[in-house]
Amino acid sequence: MKYGVHIYARAFAEAIAKQPEKYDEYLKRLIVILRRNSDAGVAKKIFSKARELLIRKSGGRRVVLESARPLSEGDLAKLRAEFSPRDLIETSVNPEILGGVKIMIDGEQVIDATLDRKLKKLFLLGI
């Protein structure tokens, strides 16, 4: 990799923040640059990071809701209501958590209300 994911993402996010109307053009240019640098393989990561940076710049947070099964519309709406409209809400399914929900904010903080963790904690008590 010629540059790190963070560097690409930051450059792209800063350019977009300055001239949001040129989004499409900048996106094309970024893809060309990534191809030229043979870094196209990490494009997905770069876009995800850039999106996170843009949301953070506008005062929002990137929230990932992880559940054991796909959340119903009702549940999702209920959870969405807990966050600011500026936040980016993503969902992911991970059957390993058994039940409940895990809320990850900006990849740095977590509210772990999963059944998996509760069971682990119970077993740690020596039961």
Partner: protein
Amino acid sequence: MSYEIIEKLKKQIEGFSDESKLEDFGQVIEAADGVVKISGLAEAMSQEMITIETEEGDVKAVAFNLEENTVGAVALGDFSHVKVGNAVKPTGKVLSVPVGKELIGRVINPLGEPIDGKGQVFSAGAKPIYYPVERKGPSVLVRESVNTPLHTGIKAIDSMIPIGRGQRELIIGDRQTGKTTIAIDTIINQKSDVRYPTPICIYVTIGQKQANIARIIKTLTDEGAMDYTIVVAAPASSPAPLWYLAPYSGTAIGEYFMDQGKDVLIIYDDLSKQAAAYRQISLLLRRPPGREAFPGDIFYLHSRLLERAAKLNKENGGGSLTALPIIETQLGDVSAYIPTNVISITDGQIYLESDLFYQGVRPAVNAGLSVSRVGSAAQTKAIKKVAGRLRLELAQFRELQAFVQFASDLDEATRKKIKRGQLIIEILKQPDGAPITFETQTVIFYAALKGFLDEIPIEKLKMAEAKLTDYFEKLHEQEILGSIRESGDLSEEVEENLKKALEQFLVTVGITE
């Protein structure tokens, strides 16, 4: 019985509370060779203990590199279970070890966990104190200069390279020259040094074979030295981060006892291996390599460790921490990177030479290259009085050594000097595992340097020394050995008695008429 268990379980289930709250968290994004890169953990501290939640259970790790977007950490437990995507939780605590007098007589790993199979160190209800593994050394204001001797029981060291409590004396030499033996003998000797309180000894072993460690522990146990010794072991099979941490953990334990006003002796066996482990970690963390591929802060690695050795003043309890680091050289090269670093940090060095070792001079101490920069201030007066001339006479002998073969053609004075030199070298020889108390050493040096042993042929000297020791222990225990032991000095009266006793000895053993 089963009713009790059910009741207990019921209570635990009823009392089980689990509220989900906002917690800091990170994720493993890279894992290789015991080193992990973690995203998130923006609030992590340097040297903070973190927990990697793997499928097989939690693995402890320490945050080392705090970078802009990631944290570089080294795993302290079983690294094979760590996978990319594992959740990482900070503990909010810098790496620390439990300390207490319960540790005495135990063998622990650098995290404070027992590895001697004798069960938990601290009883279930006990709340041990935790000391941070990394701590700044005591400041200038709380220290005082070294003033109490720490006898090693090794004649060559106590006479020429005296060590004081709170000093840092390096033991340096090639492999198989007796470095560990000196350290172990020093530990064993502490119980017979009744003039001063017995120090707590901490033996930190880094990267040694488990069989060797077991042998050392057995020696210490057989000699009764485990009653005041703690072994901190990071054997060759343990991961590099534990090798790196072992000296700091040992020092943290030592500091606890020093803070209680006690004397502590700590041995780092050896720091060259620790430096190699640190080099490994640093290279894996992609820190830029410098000379011999060591990272830039390799000097600080050892200087901050050895600065923690100190003699505290009375107002601060008067405790002390004496450090005997060991460094292994390659083919006697003391000018390599790590040896020169540690030589410059310590207050002197005991240099062991393989040539001397193979000549049969054991301990193979090279008196010319060995020094003690502060220890002479703490040397026991009795030894100072009798062995003051030892170094000089030995140096004079070394100059004349080339002429030994032509001894018959030399003048009387030179011949005498050569004879005296050979006698001193013979007297300084000592088998391992047999440390000698300072009062006996005083008697031996007095006899050797005042010419009482001049008439004895060199090959019979060892036997004569044994007889001399035996003679004094059996017949003059109280009035000579006892009074030297109690006063630490050789008064005129005792000297007179000693002289008479020696004359008597020579007659009894049939050396002079």
